[in-house]
């Protein structure tokens, strides 16, 4: 029995966040009077320091530790930095919203931090066990956050739906994982790849496992036909929590898909690619068509999120063409770019919904955006940037994200898919532009002045301008994604 103490250095950020979560819990117990402010401040500081740690420990080499269950590579570091950013901005946007509704208990920030830890574990998982536990850590925190408004029946119902369906999806995922373990004899992603390379394991059993795995993944990504929870949960959850669900977890889900399918089951690419195609086409069609019929902006953004995730899957499925891996890196980096740009747009769009809400009033109808230009022309412009970018109008970041994905799809030879995606984006442009039309050409229904703390106004403005700025100069972020993936392969 020889056991070497694992190298803790690559996982320094995770360890730091875990220790800080425990410290915050203890600190808020003893300082009850200032508990909420303390928890909020410490959470933001923790995220900032974790970002510094990740930034300094990021290098081009790949490090494995904890008996190969943890992998530290550039793709992981980049995604983690984006996750800290999304969670920090999400907490900042949501804070006054929560305070107005008496929901700003210190546990909210603690759960948000533990959710971040879960996502970090998922991003850095090199083993099905650590992947699953990271996923559960993230999901359990999210379930609790959705139910955070205890007085609201709708929020409790949303949490219940999310919890039951999420548990079912976790079960499917676990079942798929156990089948793959049974067929290949390994739970480590590189071990699975090796076993598959040597043609180990029965093909039927493997495919059986992949089907269950895909069902679990599709649920977590929120793509059709496993999307039923998305609109209800987005609608029912407090908007600050909706913002959390809609942003950072998408990056974690992207990382999970990459690790499981590309790093683990790459040899089976032709099988899971056809499944992804099915999911992607359905999501893009249903997401865009159903979004038109919505009158609630949270539901509209939920359906738009479904179609965006479908778009991201388009890039993931064009990696390998008949065994030719020439385009793989390009396709996966465009998927990563898409996920990151969607998160930036998602933050701004839900941030706007929070900005228009105030104590006792939820700005969740699309009609609440009517005449925003008359109330605040600056924020109307910000919302217009977000909507234009989501619709894929040049030259905003959303356009380049869609463009890169379509390039990858065309390079893989799926012309019909690219045509379909463009047609559906045109349909999608309708409901995004409708919001812009309401803001500029209609009379306001709600004339109360917009009141929001200065920090929210500032960061929301920066967020909106970033969408425009990154749209003008997307090369930096794009090449960052590409070089992260090159280093990780």
């Amino acid at each position: 029995m020889n056991f070497v103490v694992p190298d803790f250095y690559p996982a320094a950020a995770e360890i730091f966040v875990a220790v800080m979560a425990l410290a915050i819990m203890l600190a808020t117990t003893f300082a009850r009077r200032i508990a909420t402010a303390l928890a909020y401040g410490l959470t933001q500081v923790t995220l900032m320091i974790a970002a510094v740690i990740t930034l300094f420990s990021a290098d081009a080499s790949t490090a494995l530790t904890f008996s190969n269950m943890y992998i530290s590579d550039l793709m992981g570091s980049l995604l983690k930095l984006m996750i800290y950013f999304a969670v920090a901005v999400g907490l900042l946007y949501g804070r006054s919203y929560l305070a107005d509704r008496k929901m700003d208990r210190p546990e909210y920030f603690l759960l948000a931090l533990l959710m971040t830890l879960g996502m970090m574990v998922m991003v850095s998982a090199n083993h099905m066990l650590s992947m699953y536990i990271g996923l559960e850590l993230m999901s359990l925190s999210l379930y609790a956050m959705v139910a955070f408004d205890r007085e609201s029946v709708r929020s409790t119902e949303a949490a219940m739906k999310y919890f039951v369906l999420g548990a079912l999806a976790s079960g499917m995922l676990l079942y798929g994982m156990s089948m793959i373990y049974g067929a290949t004899g390994s739970m480590e992603f590189s071990g699975i790849t090796q076993a598959l390379y040597h043609q180990a394991g029965n093909q039927t059993v493997l495919l059986f496992g992949v089907v269950f795995l895909m069902a679990g993944l599709a649920f977590k990504l929120g793509v059709v036909p496993f999307h039923m929870w998305v609109p209800d949960v987005y609608h029912g959850a407090p908007t600050a929590v909706t913002l959390m669900i809609a942003t950072a977890p998408k990056l974690a889900a992207f990382a999970m898909t990459m690790r499981l399918l590309v790093f683990g089951l790459f040899e089976l690419a032709q099988h899971w690619q056809s499944m992804l195609m099915f999911l992607a086409v359905l999501s893009i069609v249903l997401g865009n068509v159903a979004a038109i019929a919505q009158t609630n902006i949270k539901r509209m953004l939920a359906y738009s999120g479904i179609s965006h995730m479908g778009f991201m899957l388009l890039a993931l499925l064009s990696g390998v063409v008949e065994g030719d891996r020439h385009f793989a890196l390009n396709a996966y980096s465009s998927a990563m770019f898409y996920a990151i740009s969607y998160v930036i747009m998602g933050l701004a769009s839900f941030g706007m919904v929070i900005l228009l809400s105030r104590a006792g009033f939820e700005a969740e109808r699309i009609d609440d955006f009517k005449g925003l230009n008359k109330r605040s022309s600056w924020f109307a412009a910000m919302m217009m940037i977000v909507m234009f970018s989501m619709a894929g109008i040049p030259f905003f970041i959303g356009f380049f994200a869609k463009f890169a994905v379509l390039q990858a799809v065309v390079a893989a030879g799926y012309i019909w898919l690219a045509v379909l995606a463009v047609l559906m984006s045109l349909i999608g442009a309708y409901y995004y532009l409708r919001v812009v039309k309401l803001m500029y050409f209609d009379e306001p229904e709600d004339t109360a002045p917009i009141h929001a703390p200065a920090d929210v106004r500032l960061i929301l403005s920066v967020n909106g301008l970033a969408i425009a700025f990154l749209g003008l100069l997307p090369q930096g972020l794009m090449s960052l994604c590409a070089s992260a993936l090159i280093a990780s392969f």
């Binding site: 029995m1 056991f3 694992p6 875990a18 979560a21 425990l22 819990m25 904890f66 008996s67 269950m69 943890y70 208990r105 546990e107 603690l110 759960l111 533990l114 830890l117 574990v121 083993h127 066990l129 650590s130 536990i133 990271g134 559960e136 850590l137 359990l140 925190s141 379930y143 609790a144 139910a147 955070f148 205890r150 049974g182 029965n202 039927t204 059993v205 059986f208």
Partner: protein, 203 residues
């Protein structure tokens, strides 16, 4: 038939019967007790697989702790089982069809062809001195220490979530703070008011 095989089939039959009864029993207390029975039979099967530690843990943890708690909850809550079962019979045909389809499909893949004794031969017998408990303990704290520690955080989240979602200060509760009571001074309770003396008034 070998004796072990015989024991396996008896255990498996009891397990399946008990599991079916958990779902079909009308009385929730009976359902919980059938769940206990199914746990017992499952632990018997694990013993046959030479997983002694897991078998005993299943009985100790699930039967001894979880199910007892479960029974308490079932008895404390007034569950109207009839109302919850509304629509059971009308939905049964569709549910049964889907269920049977699933079972058949899974049986095709998971049947003897791929997971039979030929495909998955029994591992070599462990030596006399091999200790199951020791091996699990060793792996848990060395190779699997990372997921093990993370699992503790998952439990922490469950705890924090349960407390924050259910704990609320009741406004109608007459809660006393002993420290405040002890620290009370005369001035807090009694106010001496000086008043002018009055004559007795005769009616």
């Amino acid at each position: 038939m070998e004796f072990k095989t015989f024991v396996f089939y008896v255990m498996a039959a009891i397990l399946v019967f008990a599991a079916v009864r958990v779902v079909t029993a009308r009385n929730p207390v009976h359902a919980a007790l059938f769940l206990v029975l199914s746990f017992f039979s499952a632990s018997g099967i694990w013993l046959l697989l030479e997983a002694e530690f897991l078998a005993i843990t299943l009985v100790l943890v699930y039967v001894g702790a979880v199910m007892v708690l479960f029974l308490f909850v079932v008895m404390m809550l007034d569950i109207n089982i009839e109302r919850m079962r509304q629509g059971f019979w009308s939905n049964l045909p569709v549910g049964a069809l889907v269920g049977i389809l699933l079972v058949v499909q899974m049986a095709l893949v998971l049947g003897g062809r791929y997971f039979g004794v030929e495909a998955m031969p029994a591992p070599p017998a462990a030596s006399e001195t091999y200790s199951n408990t020791r091996e699990i303990g060793r792996l848990l704290y060395t190779e699997y220490v990372y997921p093990f520690e993370l699992a503790s955080l998952v439990l922490l989240v469950a705890m924090v979530a349960a407390v924050t979602l259910t704990l609320r200060k009741r406004k109608d509760a007459r809660h006393l703070n002993p420290a405040e009571q002890i620290a009370v001074r005369r001035e807090d309770r009694v106010r001496l008011v000086s008043m002018p003396a009055e004559k007795d008034q005769q009616p």
